[in-house]
Symmetry: C2
């Protein structure tokens, strides 16, 4: 039996980025998109362009820079999400049109509960809206995907009708979401079979599945969808996404691979890239991966590299169903040191997948040399932490110039912070706190004056040993930064901002991460855009 090709539609940058606090900067999004392209995904859903001008701009950059590969590789489809609203669809097209292979993805809910409570529309009105908006999308773009939201709880007969109309109006991919993560694999498989059997015209379209993990069944439901005939799966890296998240790309890929005889499916995914992309997304979003996460967790494989036990091979056969190398885990980690030159660094970064300009490389090299003075062997993980810290930071309204901390069991943790502000003036403030980070954050707050609530604060020493770089992610929430539209919930939500910092000193890393989140918040409020000018005028 010939293999069936299953398309991977990655929505890490859209549905994944909607997780509270997973907000990424434009530069981070671009790097994630590049990594997804290298990973071999077929479609990158780059964002929801109508959400804000920033979102539109990020999608446009990805469409231009990742959607037009210059190295002869096949261009990934770049997709933008749109509600069934004229402005949304036009914005989506504006975002993706510069890609070699653009796609518009539009959606409307079809379950009774959503139509009645959220849309306040009748079935007839929903049908009309789908016809009108799919036609509009198709008039702009040849590749149009339509999703009947909350399909898992929709009346199947109405669903067939809506899908048939979307097909008539030119939709080329029909995506079936289990929006609330409610179905069982048996039910979801039956839903997909029913759609394929009963929807006129569906034989010329790709059927796609989009599952959520509220009951821990996203992967099983996605696989059931494939067995029922779906040929596209919508997934995210590490399964990030709202609530319990989306289907994890890595789980579906490796299930199809490991159980090839059962599924008879091939994919375009280069599995050896999985671990790298997983770490990249965890760092940029601040959504860390638990040790016992399938495929990409720290403990996912039974045996660590370097164990050299007799009978290792036989034990691998008895307890491992896939080799760590297959997903790029436990790769040899080339260690660099203080005598490594700029050329060696450039080479290593290329091997790690970073194409860097000379200016970025120069900044990285400077940080690299400073680190090499403190720490003997510099690993790939250290390098990736440096890249995140150095190159993917938001616009810096305030920049850390100096930090001095005293703490311990004497009980008066004190921090002194010196920041350069938007007016390029240094400001110094000392503060006491319950701990060194609290003291330092209080000192920062006294200077910056941007009220916010700290939602999460996580420090990881991901690299080998405690002398390595510590990475800190923080998530803050602001009333003042206004609200953002959730694509599906259409609820205004308080905006949250994630920040990332890396340093061998975790207190320094903490302050950097906090400043990075605050700088994102300041960009959203515009507080210091005007404040800076006012001060200049005074």
């Amino acid at each position: 039996m010939a293999d069936m090709y299953v398309r991977f539609f990655d929505t890490t940058l859209r549905d994944g980025e909607q997780s509270p606090g997973a907000t990424m900067t434009s530069a981070e999004k671009l790097e994630v998109a590049r990594s997804l392209a290298r990973l071999g995904v077929d479609v990158i859903e780059a964002g929801f362009p109508a959400a804000s001008p920033d979102d539109l701009e990020a999608v446009r950059r990805i469409a231009t820079e990742v959607g037009n590969p210059t190295d002869g590789s096949r261009a990934p489809i770049i997709c933008g999400l749109a509600r069934t609203i004229t402005n949304d669809i036009e914005k989506a097209w504006e975002g993706v049109k510069s890609a070699a292979r653009p796609r518009i993805h539009t959606f409307l809910a079809t379950s009774e509960i959503h139509m009645q409570y959220k849309l306040k529309m009748t079935r007839e009105q929903v049908l009309d809206k789908v016809r009108e908006m799919v036609c509009l999308a198709r008039s702009l773009c040849e590749d149009v995907e339509f999703s009947p939201e909350d399909a898992g709880r929709s009346d199947p007969d109405f669903l067939y009708l809506v899908l048939a109309e979307a097909i008539k109006c030119g939709a080329t991919t029909l995506n079936i979401p289990d929006t609330v993560g409610y179905t069982t694999p048996e039910e979801f498989g039956a839903l997909i079979s029913g759609i394929i059997k009963n929807t006129p015209g569906i034989e010329n379209c790709i059927v796609s599945v989009h599952c959520h993990n509220d009951l821990g069944l996203a992967t099983a439901n996605t696989l059931a969808g494939i067995q029922a005939g779906a040929r596209q799966v919508e997934v995210t890296i590490n399964g990030i996404g709202e609530r319990a998240g989306n289907t994890a790309l890595e789980e579906v890929v490796m299930a199809l691979y490991t159980r090839h005889a059962t599924f008879n499916c091939s994919t375009g995914i280069d599995t050896t890239q999985i671990t790298r992309v997983s770490k990249l997304v965890a760092n940029y979003t601040g959504m860390s991966v638990q040790a016992n996460k399938a495929i990409v967790g720290a403990n996912a494989f039974a045996h660590e590299a370097g164990i050299h036990q007799d009978g290792m091979l036989k034990h691998q056969l008895t307890y491992e169903i896939m080799r760590p190398e297959l997903v790029g885990a436990n790769q040899t980690r080339l260690v660099m040191g203080k005598h490594s030159g700029r050329h060696a660094l450039k080479q290593r970064m290329l091997e790690l997948g970073y194409r860097m300009g000379e200016e970025d490389l120069a900044r990285l090299f400077e940080r690299f040399k400073a680190l090499a003075d403190k720490k003997k062997g510099i690993t790939d993980a250290d390098l990736e932490a440096l890249v995140s810290d150095e190159l993917y930071q938001p616009k810096e309204y305030f920049k850390l110039d100096g930090l001095q901390v005293a703490c311990g069991t004497m009980g008066m943790p004190t921090a002194t912070v010196r920041l350069f502000g938007p007016d390029n003036q240094a400001r110094v403030c000392a503060s006491v706190g319950t701990g060194p980070v609290d003291a330092a954050f209080k000192a920062v707050d006294a200077i910056i004056q941007a009220p916010n609530g700290l939602l999460e604060f996580v420090i990881h020493a991901v690299t080998e040993g405690i002398d390595a770089i510590g990475e800190v992610t923080v998530r803050i929430e602001s009333n003042a930064a206004g609200q953002v539209i959730g694509a599906q919930s259409e609820m205004d939500q308080l905006r949250t901002f994630g920040g990332y910092g890396a340093d061998t000193d975790i207190i320094v890393a903490s302050v950097k991460a906090y400043l990075s989140a605050l700088n994102k918040l300041l960009a959203a409020t515009g507080q210091y855009e005007t404040a800076g000018q006012t001060e200049a005028e005074v």
Copy 2:
């Protein structure tokens, strides 16, 4: 149709504790067992008594203290694991016999690959061993569970034969493990159906399922097992366990609850305890839960408590398939302050589920007052962090007496540590490092001299705001501490030790966590048992 009762067999303390670094102290295991009893699990697998005298002792304490409730509640079955080895079975019985309802669980692999490479036994030899050892177990204990390891990859006909023999010899529960997490729900359901249909005598036994999550399918496989007739499920809190872990208790419980009409099953679980137990296990094992984990992740529910938006209710209906309160998330967090007395603290701890002796309460109250001086409102999370830090620490060979740290961007992080040693002498050491934690750990190492490798270092500020208590977990590995037998792999593994520390100062918390892990390591090596004496003699 009448509900079918599904028994929950929790193996957090056995299969869960086998995760690298998830080692818990005896006191922590006891507290987890108490929480599992409150949660309403039917069976607590308390450990693998043959692994070490410590493991045996921990099982015995749980059997005695949790296996004989004095408040009139139904006693949970307390179970001990044993290989099909006389000594293992005798040790297991020694561990569990003091419980009101003891169980011995023994297992032997039945797949060709395991029999050939690991056991080096023929089918006939496997059958003989099963007969002999199940008979032995049954001669000691009325309640005997047998598992054919790697059943998912075993020849079904041979499996039926082995199970039939186990039943003849007196096994009362037959547990079917998908040891390597390889099967799909369809396959696993068919395996269970086949067993129920083809195994003579099985109608008088309970069929159980035990799944692993290597492909992200553990929950789906477990549910497929239930649909095929299994009436016991083996699970862990947060799905912890070797590699990608076991089936998560919370996912199976909530799937059965939320989709009651599909499954028609009832359970003995009090769902409102889920969040509490999840946090407890995460703290004690140091296995943190990712934000997008189903049911117990920080983001698992769409809406946070306190959002008071118009139409909240309608949105809950549209996007939530269960209410957060149902799993005990978002409960009102009573805030205590510096004027709260000892009685109020005792009351609150009781409400949180901690029955504390007067001595423990006195120590907790002291820490509580110290914290209240630093921090305005003390939340439940703060209290639980204090309990973990104060009451569930290993024997302290070395105790932190003083810590002084200076760090910041000046680049010479320095820590001075004063420890009380086993001889009750204070030792002071100063050290410089790449960061404050590195400096402090180096100073500790200079005093304690117990070579080890740091595997993981995680700091969480789980409570509200950065002024709250920071919690640190570390995992270290030691060559010197000898090796431990994995029940199933029978591979000797390097012993790893987890440590936990909590303080408003994260550097202090880090040192406490490191000391707690080191103290566990020292207990395992016995290094300072003798050293202390030697020094006393000198």
